[in-house]
Amino acid sequence: MTITLAQLNTKATITWCPGCGNFSILTAFKRALVELQIPREKVVVITGIGCHGKFGDYVNVNSFHTIHGRVLPIATGIKLANKELIVVGFSGDGDAYAIGLSHIPHAARRNIDVKYVVHNNMIFGLTTGQVTPTTPKGVKTRSTPYGNPEEPLNPLALALVSGATFVARGFAGDVAHLTWLFKEAIKHKGFAFIDVLQPCYTFYNTYEYFRRRVYKLEDVGHDITDFEEALKKAYEWNDKIPIGIFYKVRKPTFEETLPQLKGEPLALRDISDVNIEKAYVFLR
């Protein structure tokens, strides 16, 4: 049976602002699923709290709208229970880099085969415009009316030094490129991290800013196997801002290192009569 874009639509009314970068991310994700022809039942989308959090309502696949910041642990649990599922987490920059930051380095070094997409609009949108860890220094927001006094976080550098095996940046202003990135991330075996520059049309409109600056790493012959070069590119944030795949390496995934996971998914194992007597040896 062919998977079509229409099948991926839901009855829910989309409540994002007109012009919101989330639309591009949604479109690119659906296109990626169609182009890869992944059955809907096999996909699970996890979303956190924020404007991006409605994502699961708008795509007709399995979904888990979790509490603030916990996309990665939920995704990890799902993947361990059923390794055959394609597990894709979506977070905003507040969800991922503020309240949920503690999970990123660990998911990365564990190399769990989960995809993690961060809708990075550099602002809290749903709570009407407060500063986030990626808001540039000096920017005035509702919670920093005199300008943000803090240096922003560098998400790509963080992902790289944490050991993520796929690190990329996308731009919501380029749906075709984003679609390609999603496909590459899904095809990658291991933890895939994609930070998406996603302008917030209402509270922090950066479309023009990014459109003038972004360029594609594929166009400049970037070597995605070169870790140090990737790290250098992660710090490039001036007149030129790179998008594309920064780094990719194949390493054993968390699931592959666990012999218990060989064979059928845990969720489908027979648990009706577990023989615990073999553990009695420790209790005698």
């Binding site: 039942e41 990890t76 361990l80 059923n82 845990l266 969720a267 577990v274 615990i276 005698r284």
Partner: protein, 581 residues
């Protein structure tokens, strides 16, 4: 009462092998056909300080250690100073002849002192100093004329990972044994003859919970280390390949519980275990489990609080916390086993209930239950069966589109796991409609709140119809009742034995299910009770406040203890005698 009650205490610094010796002795007596309850008391440090293992052995089932001691094994002088007051008249002390202490002071107290060259023997053997404890264990076997071979078999098994280490300890135990036999003869303290080994287990509450999880078909276990729950993690990590269970230690307790919820959403029965601080971090996600209607089993092994408190000491201070953790109103089970045997069966039950009602289940233990050893018969697996909830596996056959939160008469919606053919499973921590889409619609909110409430009504019935939700021991017709929950059961049951021997007949009411609260059952059980004595390991008498809330009845007397130490039977006995008077 049993004809034999023998209490031993092994004391020394952390690192001297106190816990291992105590455990090996408990296993020795169990293999020798006796029953043991053994407690390890230790401060939160790795070297130095004072650790002691305190256990009572009996020829009938035993539920708690007794305070007064027949035999002290003193691996250092500190042990003598701290525990001499516990020694019974004519009790024995095994002491290293290398230790400087005032022997006459001990003898003035009526102690029989056995100086044994623990250090000397270890030096002769060329063994590490820690092996002193094996010499002492061997010596103790001679003092009570127990079969040395039983101890040796336990040492070989416990230390068997490295054969040469096991053998040197065996040799040390033999030397200790012969030394006593030659110097003093066999059975100077008393005679405890081994009986037949009936295959009983020596198990802690933590191990029982772990084993219960395995029996319940748990496939994923997540935990961050926290005393006193960490041994659940250690036990499961050890056997993970034998049972094909994935055991993960994530970055914090927030990740722990969210991973567990994610895993059960995808079809893998999951459990987490922690103590108060970790549970505090989990509270938000407990509400999430309730709202998304994803089952999860959370073990809360209480310790002395507030905050970091005394991490290695016991308390029952978190009852109200467990009952109310997380915002909003939702049903949950809170279950408190009273001993390790109950902990096993109730953990299996917890998994079944969690899945049947699609709610979080909290198992309340405490340090005293979680880390103490108890001799129990091998488990009856017929009484510990997996019962799956309304789950859909493989393929959804319904004619209409699958709705994760379908409105049903009982409030429970059939639960498909992602990956199920023809079913798209949408779960949502936001208020949602039947399909799982978020909505703030007023009418929907009311429908969904009522749906969750219908589960609560059903859960209440489950508890009221369950014999095990409240247990009654002793003289059921007595107008005097002790009421309690959790690990205080041990000391209370031992107290009942002592009281019965004195001709005082009271009953003990153990509340096992604390949410939903077994109101009707308790009303019946307490109907003719004139004097109600509340026993709790906390400051405020939290079960007492629940009795007032649900039964409109306050306890008449209180026995509360909140110094981090468990109740001893004699404390309960004294209080009851005071009440009876």
């Amino acid at each position: 009462m049993g004809s034999i009650y023998f209490t031993y205490l092994i004391g020394g610094e952390a690192g001297m092998g106190v816990a291992a010796s105590g455990r090996m002795l408990a296993k020795t007596f169990t293999r020798g056909g006796y029953y043991v309850f053994g407690m390890i008391d230790y401060p939160s440090l790795i070297r130095g300080g004072h650790n002691f293992y305190h256990a009572t052995v009996s020829d009938e089932r035993i539920w708690s250690l007794h305070y007064n001691v027949d035999l002290i094994i003193a691996l250092n002088k500190d042990t003598l100073d701290r525990h001499l007051s516990k020694l019974k008249k004519k009790g024995s002390i095994i002491v290293d002849s290398d230790i400087k202490y005032d022997k006459s002071a001990l003898e003035r107290q009526g102690a029989r002192v056995f100086e044994i060259p623990l250090t000397g023997i270890v030096k002769e053997l060329g063994a590490l100093t820690v092996v002193r404890n094996s010499v002492a264990l061997g010596a103790s076997m001679a003092l009570i004329d127990f079969d040395l071979e039983v101890l040796l078999s336990v040492i070989r098994k416990e230390l068997g990972k490295r054969k040469e280490i096991a053998e040197i300890n065996v040799e040390a135990a033999k030397r200790g044994y012969s030394f006593v036999v030659e110097q003093y003869g066999k059975g100077v303290q008393c005679t405890i003859r081994p009986r037949s080994d009936n295959g009983h287990l020596v198990i802690t509450g933590n191990e029982a919970v772990a084993l219960g999880g395995l029996r319940a078909g748990m496939k994923t276990y997540f935990a961050y280390p926290m005393t006193p729950a960490s041994p659940v993690l250690h036990f499961l990590a050890n056997v993970q390949f034998d049972f094909d269970v994935v055991v993960v230690q994530p970055e914090n307790e927030i990740a722990v519980i969210n991973m567990a919820i994610g895993a059960w959403y995808a079809g893998s029965r999951s459990m987490v275990a922690t103590s108060g601080g970790g549970f505090a971090l989990m509270t938000e996600a407990i509400g999430q489990a309730a709202m998304t209607e994803i089952p999860v089993v959370v073990v809360l092994a209480q310790r002395s609080g507030p905050s970091t408190g005394m991490p290695t000491y016991t308390a029952q201070g978190d009852l109200r916390f467990a009952l109310h953790a997380s915002q909003g109103e939702f049903p949950r089970f809170v279950i408190a086993p009273g001993d390790a045997e109950e902990a096993f069966y109730l953990t299996v039950r917890a998994f079944n209930l969690a899945e049947k009602f699609q709610v979080p289940v909290i198992i309340l233990t405490d340090k005293h239950l979680a880390e103490s050893h108890l001799t129990v018969p091998a488990f009856d697996l017929k009484k510990a069966k997996v019962e799956r909830g309304k789950i859909i596996v493989g393929k959804y056959e319904g004619s209409e589109e699958y709705r994760r939160y379908k409105i049903t008469d009982d409030g429970i919606s059939p639960m498909a796991f992602p990956g199920t053919l023809n079913a798209i499973v949408k779960v949502n921590s936001s208020e949602h409609n039947e399909y799982g889409f978020a909505t703030a619609d007023a009418k929907n909110a009311e429908i969904m709140a009522k749906k969750r409430l219908r589960k609560l009504e059903l859960m209440q019935e489950e508890v009221e119809n369950c014999e095990e939700s409240v247990k009654v021991y002793g003289d059921e017709r007595s107008p005097i009742a002790i009421i309690g929950w959790g690990s205080t059961k041990g000391a209370i049951l031992e107290a009942l034995k002592i009281l019965e021997a004195k001709g005082v007949n009271v009953k003990f009411v153990q509340v096992v299910f604390l949410s939903p609260f077994p109101t009707r059952r308790l009303q019946t059980i307490l109907k003719d009770v004139r004097e109600l004595l509340l026993v709790e390991n906390n400051v405020t008498g939290q079960l007492g406040s629940l009795l007032r809330e649900h039964l409109l009845r306050a306890p008449d007397e209180y026995l509360l203890k909140f110094n981090g130490r468990p109740f001893y039977p004699h404390e309960v006995v004294s209080k009851v005698l005071e009440v009876v008077k």
